[in-house]
């Protein structure tokens, strides 16, 4: 069978029909990943506008643009959007797009579930913003502390919207995490043993496993609050023997790992970008893998450092101080390994690497202020002040957003087949870098000056005016940088330079296929024998997997440790039912906010959808049987 013929047949097998139904039902991990990324970036823009409104409101004392009620909704929605609707989905979207390419397979393991999860995410996010537009935006912060979000003090349906939709949207994170974990462990192309798995895939694997352990905690907690609100239970009612502090434990047991499962994929971007632009394999690959795993474990032992000001036992707090300091070590190991890689490499300073340098500067500041916050006495002074606002933005913007932009400049040519403009990229970087530091550095000082967080205004005699004004100027410069980014993307679609398959001369498998990749990713799955298969292909033995069917969606499952061929796997074919299920569950939960009857009747549609989804297809069974008899 000729190569052209095989490609045509694979194309027929894997391409979605060019109809609306084909577009909605697609199971292509690249299409779904792209959707996640684009949607998350739109939510990022919405969250950014909310952040800009806050900086504007605080730019001078006594401003009345936002009243207290609106301001509280704005900051709650800003945090909720950035954490739940932007940071986690965008990292998962990039994982969905690149993990199968990097490990040389045709699709993710549970493509239908992931297809369902995108619609869950979209419905959840849009409903949250619809609520906000109707003056029912969350107003108890992204942390939604009880009793402020409880039945007695949480007005109207605001907290219900937060509880139900965060719960619903997080189901998305959980589903994608299960899919990515399975894909990384079982779908790697032959020869890609765990030792040869790219660092970005390691990072995605670690963060996905963390999501599987952390997400259910906040979902459970939000349900308990919702029970208190809807059914009159007393989980958090101190007057009836409940405990207010329980929510904080539950929330931060999820909330602290969440920061790390946003940060760890970003570490993966950096570990993908640095070897390419230092033109050498990563120094200390094993140390970095172990650091990622250690960070994942340790991040579950830090949650109480958000609660030092509460009256939990003092000795316990010291344990959490030690843990908070200890988690700095794996991060330090990675920083040192990256510097060593650059030091011993030959550096090509292109825009992706520029963003990584920006990451170094900002993340180190954020990490050091994080160490300050880990110390009980220092935290008691700066906790819940603008100092923490500064710290968390240094960690999240420095630690996740800068690497994210680096990743966008790095992988854009692979996804869209065109190079982003280098000059605009540099302008984008410098404006963002300067604007960011101008926005957030002064907040450290304001925090020490006694300015609390989450205040809608302040009086002139507090003396906080000038630094807040400076911060507002920084935010304007940031906006300019982000506008340049949008301009760069639009310009590239219009007349960007065409990208070759491997424009950066990188070593990992995603660059082995065309830009953009075909629906089936690789004509034949590559066999690998090293960490950078494109830099050092197998010297002997087969270089490609042969014998997989091209006329049906067939892939290869390999063993977890050594990636030896295990079984042939029939990928699912597109179906409308995952989409119907997402809408059904969404309608059910939204209905449940307004009516207890809805809680019951609303279950009918999702039940039908799930049954139809799993209904066995005779045609598929016959195909599989035929393949088994004569491959």
């Amino acid at each position: 069978m000729s190569s052209d013929h095989a490609r045509a047949e694979l194309e027929r097998t894997w391409r979605d029909p060019a109809t609306l139904k084909g577009w909605i039902c697609t199971l292509d991990h690249k299409a779904i990943g792209r959707r996640f990324i684009v949607t998350a970036l739109l939510f990022f823009a919405a969250g950014g506008v909310l952040g800009g409104l806050m900086r504007h409101q605080l730019s001078e004392p006594g401003k009345t643009m936002l009243g207290p009620d609106l301001y509280n909704q704005v900051f709650s929605m800003h945090g909720t959007t950035m954490m739940f609707l932007f940071a986690v989905p965008v990292m998962q979207g990039i994982g969905l797009y690149f993990v199968p390419l990097m490990i040389g397979t045709r699709n993710t393991a549970f493509a239908r579930m992931t297809a369902c999860s995108y619609w869950v995410y979209l419905i959840g996010g849009l409903t949250l913003f619809t609520g906000f537009a109707l003056n029912t935006g969350a107003d108890a912060g992204w942390f939604a502390y009880v009793p402020l979000s409880g039945p007695e003090h949480g007005f109207g349906k605001r907290a219900d919207f937060w509880n139900v939709l965060v719960n619903f949207t997080e189901a998305m994170g959980l589903m994608v995490a299960v899919d990515l974990t399975t894909t990384a462990l079982k779908m790697r192309t032959p020869g890609m043993s765990l030792q040869r798995m790219p660092l970005f895939v390691w990072a995605t694997l670690v963060s996905s496993i963390m999501i599987i352990f952390a997400m259910p905690t906040v979902m459970l907690g939000a349900n308990l609050v919702q029970f208190d609100r809807m059914a009159g239970t007393h989980f958090f009612n101190a007057a009836e023997g409940g405990d207010v502090l329980l929510w904080q434990h539950v929330f931060w047991y999820f909330g602290h790992p969440e920061v790390y499962f946003i940060f760890i994929p970003a570490l993966g971007f950096i570990s993908a970008i640095i070897p390419t632009f230092a033109r050498r394999p990563m120094f200390g690959h094993t140390a970095i893998v172990l650091s990622l795993i250690a960070t994942g474990f340790l991040s579950f032992g830090l949650w109480v450092h958000h609660m030092y000001a509460t009256n939990v036992p003092e000795l316990g707090k010291s344990f959490f101080t030690a843990m908070s300091f200890m988690i700095a070590i794996p991060s330090a190991v990675q920083l040192f390994c990256w510097i060593a890689t650059l030091w011993t490499g030959r550096v090509a300073m292109k825009s992706p690497l520029l963003f990584i340098v920006g990451f170094f500067v900002t993340l180190v500041i954020g990490g050091l202020t994080g160490i300050m916050l880990g110390s009980v006495p220092l935290d008691l002074q700066v906790h819940d002040t603008q100092f923490v606002v500064a710290h968390l933005h240094y960690v999240l913007i420095g630690g996740a957003l800068f690497p994210l932009f680096g990743a966008v400049y790095y992988w854009f040519p692979k996804v869209y087949g065109r190079m982003l403009n280098e000059r605009l990229g540099r302008w984008h970087f410098w404006l963002l870098f300067i604007g960011f530091n101008l926005t957030f550095f002064p907040l450290h000082v304001l925090g020490l000056d006694g300015m609390p967080r989450r205040i809608y205004t302040y009086s002139a005699d507090s003396g906080w005016g000038p630094l807040n004004f400076l911060s507002w100027i920084g935010a304007m410069i940031d906006d300019l940088g982000l506008a340049l980014f949008i301009l760069n993307v639009l310009r590239t679609f219009w007349k960007g330079e065409r990208a070759s398959d491997n424009p950066w001369g990188a070593g990992t498998l995603e660059w082995a296929t065309s830009s953009p990749p075909p629906p089936y990713n690789f004509e034949r799955l590559p066999v690998v024998a090293s960490l950078e298969p494109l830099w050092s292909p197998p010297a002997e033995g087969p270089r490609e997997v042969v014998g997989l069917a091209t006329n049906s969606r067939e892939g290869l499952v390999t063993t977890v440790l050594d990636a030896l061929p295990d079984v042939r796997y029939s990928y699912p074919s597109p179906s409308i039912w995952p989409v119907v299920a997402a809408f059904g569950v969404g309608l059910w939960l939204i209905w449940s906010i307004f009516s207890n009857k809805g809680m019951l009747i609303g279950l009918i549609l999702p039940s039908i959808a799930f049954i139809a989804w799993y209904w066995p297809s005779q045609k598929e069974a016959a195909e599989e049987l035929a393949l088994e008899k004569r491959p």
Binding site: P147, A238, R280, A309, N311, V364, I371, V376, G450, P452
Partner: protein, 320 residues
């Protein structure tokens, strides 16, 4: 610049934390400078002309060995520095916990949305008194403050004197502090508590021992009988209108506990927990429409005839 920040300590607790702060800050600055220098040097020495994309190659074994040594040394040094910081942090914590409490003054502070109820405790019930949004303490004597919350979580924070302590419904916390310099220190609620979290401030006034004792005796006296027709009319309005449902004035039948005790209201600096300065004009505005000055506050508007309002203000001004 006002001196209400965490680094201008007026007592031992804030001073200990301040010391730890400077120690940690300089150590962090040193680490930052060292890391940035290493990064800058790495990028400088390994740079290639713009646009060049050399062939990838593993570096020599010697360079790799050297890098391994440097990285190991840096990890070891970082771990040692972190241990040092941990020791400093735990020792500071211990100092904070061992403030001498001999003869300490006992105060009970209850946080409400959005004001502070302050009760001075005493073994003799007739020497217990209440005030609001202002905590007067003696210089040089330790104070143990019992912290309670009435509705949602609040947090007690006077940066010049100590770090913060959360006030959580259903839980009782305490904070120990001492002021060594006389002065007025601003305290603020530090835990987000709803609409008026921004304006939930209080003053901590540290007075020399003798002046504190005089203040305390004065607080124990009930409100004086109002003199003058207008003040008497105001007094009557206070007791027959809705004021007394929530407010208390000792020495009268007004016994409400839902809102600040007004027995010595006129001696306080602000209205509405730091919202506006306590002047007669501001007071009239406040009584007429508190929502305008502090949206969300639990006090309703009172549309009184002009002369009644003036009388009420006049009466409240007598509560010195």
């Amino acid at each position: 610049m006002p001196m209400n920040d965490a680094l201008h300590a007026a007592g031992p607790q804030a001073a200990w934390i301040g010391q730890l702060w400077w120690f940690t800050l300089w150590l962090c600055v040193a680490v930052f400078v060292a890391l940035m220098a290493a990064l800058a040097w790495a990028l400088w020495r390994a740079r290639r002309p713009a646009g060049a994309m050399p062939q990838p190659a593993p570096p020599s074994a010697g360079a790799e060995r050297l890098a391994r040594r440097w990285v190991s040394a840096a990890v070891l040094l970082s771990s040692l520095l972190l241990m040092g910081l941990l020791a400093a942090s735990v020792l500071t914590d211990q100092r904070l916990a061992t403030l001498s409490l001999d003869g300490a003054l006992q105060i009970r502070v209850t946080a409400h949305q959005w004001w502070w109820e302050v009760e001075y405790e005493d073994p003799r019930p007739d020497r217990v008194f209440r005030t609001a949004n202002e905590i007067v303490i003696p210089v040089g004597r330790s104070v143990v403050i019992t912290l309670l919350a009435d509705d949602v979580i609040h947090s007690f924070w006077v940066p010049n004197l100590h770090g913060k302590k959360d006030m959580i419904p259903g839980r009782t916390a305490t904070i120990q502090l001492r002021a060594d310099r006389a002065g007025t220190y601003v305290g603020r609620c530090a835990e987000y508590c709803g609409l008026q979290h921004a304006f939930m401030a209080y003053d901590v006034v540290a007075l020399p021992a003798d002046r504190f004792a005089a203040w305390q005796e004065h607080q124990l006296t009930p409100a004086p009988e109002p003199a003058g027709a207008a003040a008497r009319r105001g007094h009557e309005l206070f007791l027959t209108g809705s004021c007394m449902l929530c407010h208390a004035v000792q020495g009268t039948s007004a016994n409400g506990r839902r809102a600040p005790d007004l027995t010595h209201f006129a001696s306080r600096a602000s209205i509405g927990a730091g919202q506006i300065a306590n002047t007669s004009q501001a007071l009239a505005q406040w009584i007429e429409d508190p929502q305008k000055l502090k949206p969300g506050v639990n006090m309703p508007a009172h549309l009184l005839p002009r002369e009644d309002l003036a009388a009420l203000v006049e009466y409240l001004e007598t509560l010195r």
